[in-house]
Subunit: 320 residues, 3 copies
């Protein structure tokens, strides 16, 4: 799949950004550049055990104001496998509880000779705010319901590895579109790379407004199911909802859960994705989660490769 | 003490296991293999400051669902001193609070190209469950009241270093046998290596059922004291007890605490051990804890060596 | 600024201490030795990206019993940039909650072949207590209201970099002197290096007793302002105060906050410092915090260099 045959010494000419804040502002060429680099990193790390020392002497700070284990650790492992040092900041036990602003916190971290800050914050736009105020590289690890660019990239990489290209594929994002930054990053990335995107879920969680962006809006999973090449089952974010958007979890599962019966009515080679952590029995039944169509664990492995690629590209662009 | 003269390049032929889940299923030869490797690692690290790069490029994940500082950090330091990278997962702030199963959590970690998972969980059998579901190495860091194999090994190594052999020694485990995974791992390991084991404590905490396994059961410490070569004073696990197993801490201390007066009635060369953290004034008085018979801090140092040995052996076996 | 032209191989002869517990007991020569080494480390790390491997194979443990992000991470980064390994202990989730004494906790950490312990504790004297009981190096990361020696050193280094020397400068510490370990470390260090020190704040937070130590005591900032070369604006430690030492935050800001109007009445080249995290609008207004007189972020960068210097000197002294 990879078109580049880089030895990770030179950043491809198409890449000039010091930050990764979203996928909306990236071109198809830039998206492909990240995907190609990630493929190369997977190839380089799957087969052998040596570290790729392209970020030796660099330090990456994880600045997570929301709970996260997998994204935080994925960034941390990615940085260290490139030879960088890592440092963890979190909101609990930090100066934030002493009334410090997020910009002051980030500037203080940067002043410790930090080269890149990975930021997760519940307020949309926080990564952009930091990018405007810091000299170092800023990478979004998710900002409220806005975007989660590396999650979008790893989802897209997983599809591309299985299908060769995104061009002409029909990808449905199922579930809580309204609160999902993963949905937004998928939509922008998938559209740019030529996929047809459907958002599907209860009307309380799926807005008609997406049609303005060339996205198909559907409320009945069973109607669109036979056309789909990929289903990305978004987690019902119980912790983000103030009002109850559907009568019961059981009713949601009845209408939108991926189960054996629905798999039988889908395309033979349909891919089932989920950003995780998955709620078994809610958006996906155990037999499907562990079945042959599921690429959930490949997504995790690709997450590492995507983050290696993003760190390498943004820090490389910052250097030159 | 060490019989092996390994340069840490080749795993001894007797060792073929990819996991360490308990001591009950290990043979005397396998136990001795770990103890010998640990001696070698102590000798190699006590004298010089270079890292032993036998696990370069490997990553060890600590997956602790129960609070732990010393066991977690001991595993982490052991891994890094062998050149491995480490990553920390804990239950607080992780996806577990979002409803993920322990197998899904562990599989997700494994998908980040992790080579070994050290698991601590309050449910007995969780390490075995993971070993059956993961491809990578699984090492128990303690599962409920079942076993804590590396603690058992470090206790046994400490005795062997002082006495040359376990054969024929009388070792008493004193205190809360019912709730102690440390007791179980000690019992299986000590018996296999030829020691006579006594479990001693209040009847509410010490079951007669241990006699079926060739373990002596005693309720009066003063009666068995003159015969003991080693006393291992288990911590009273106040946090694990729902009912109060003895009238008062003071009464427990009166009957079972190791103090100066009891030391005088014990063998001249008796070894006093405690897995820690110790409750000074409960199971041990300060003068004994800091006295010449105490090997409590040697146990901690040996813990590091045991964990280096276990990581080296299990990851080495997994590779070939 | 730096007088030493060390290649970090040999510890200067003037330095013989294995611990750093306070600044009160250090001579002017010892203080200058640390400042010089820190300058050298800044010069060595600002220009290039290689690690200075003077502590390879050493392990530094952070043992923080009080919340801290920046001091803890600053020590951790400093240690790792010298090639050392680091390990984190904190009070939450540790054996401390199981009733262990601080000496036992520290001795247990030391027994894992740790070379230096950085200790923060709310009880004054805890670093000294550990230094008396451990074999390894002990460095204070702040003990209650007593001292915070590396904070004092980084403040002094920042002034020296801008002014060349401390001799004859007038430095005012403004705010909560009573609860501030930063104030105490600044006072001892500044006096020894020839600066004139003023402590200034509400009478409830500033004791006349400082006059006995040759420190000027002032209650009116506007009266002393024209004479000051440096203002160090201590944070109002709301979390440390049981009684309310002034009527309102607004009144405090009116009398003691550094704002544009006061800057205009100050010396042209006045330096504005703050140990952070800063309360914008309380002790400092945003325009001053971000203005040309502020050296707040330089303090953070110097903190890293000071901690590298302290680790190198104390561990080097411990070795020979």
């Amino acid at each position: 799949m990879s078109v580049a045959t880089t030895d990770f010494r030179e950043i491809p000419a198409v890449w000039t950004r010091r930050h990764l804040l979203d996928l909306e502002s990236l071109s198809a060429e830039e998206l492909t550049c990240i995907l190609d680099a990630a493929e190369d990193f997977r190839a380089a790390t799957d087969n052998c055990r040596h570290k790729i020392q392209v970020l030796t002497g660099r330090t990456v700070a994880n600045l997570f104001f929301e709970n996260s284990t997998r994204t935080r650790n994925s960034f941390s492992l990615a940085a260290r496998r490139l030879g960088a040092d890592t440092i963890e900041f979190s909101s609990s036990g930090s100066s934030v509880s002493k009334g410090e602003t997020v910009i002051d916190t980030a500037k203080t971290i940067e002043a410790m000779n930090i080269d890149a800050v990975v930021i997760r914050h519940r307020t949309p736009g926080t990564p952009l705010l930091l990018a405007k105020n810091l000299q170092c590289t800023v990478i979004s690890g998710g900002d409220g319901p806005h975007e989660h660019p590396t999650q979008g990239l790893l989802d897209i990489l997983t599809i591309r590895q299985r299908r060769g290209s995104l061009e002409g594929l029909t990808v449905a994002l199922v579930g809580d579109i309204a609160h999902s930054r993963t949905a937004r990053s998928n939509i922008w990335g998938l559209k740019k790379l030529g996929a047809h995107v459907i958002v599907c879920g209860p009307a309380t969680l799926v807005s008609r407004h997406w049609e303005e962006f060339g996205v198909e809006v559907a409320y009945n999973l069973d109607e669109i199911l036979p056309r789909c090449d990929v289903l990305n089952l978004l987690r019902i974010q119980f912790e983000r909802q103030h009002t109850r958007p559907f009568p019961s979890v059981r009713e949601y599962a009845l209408l939108y859960a991926m189960n054996r019966e629905r798999i039988e009515r889908a395309k033979d080679d349909i891919l089932i994705m989920a950003p995780g952590p998955i709620n078994r029995g809610v958006e996906i039944t155990p037999d499907v989660a562990d079945g042959p169509h599921s690429v959930i664990l490949e997504q995790v492995t690709n997450g590492l490769a995507i983050r290696m690629a993003v760190l390498w590209l943004t820090l490389g662009a910052g250097r030159s």
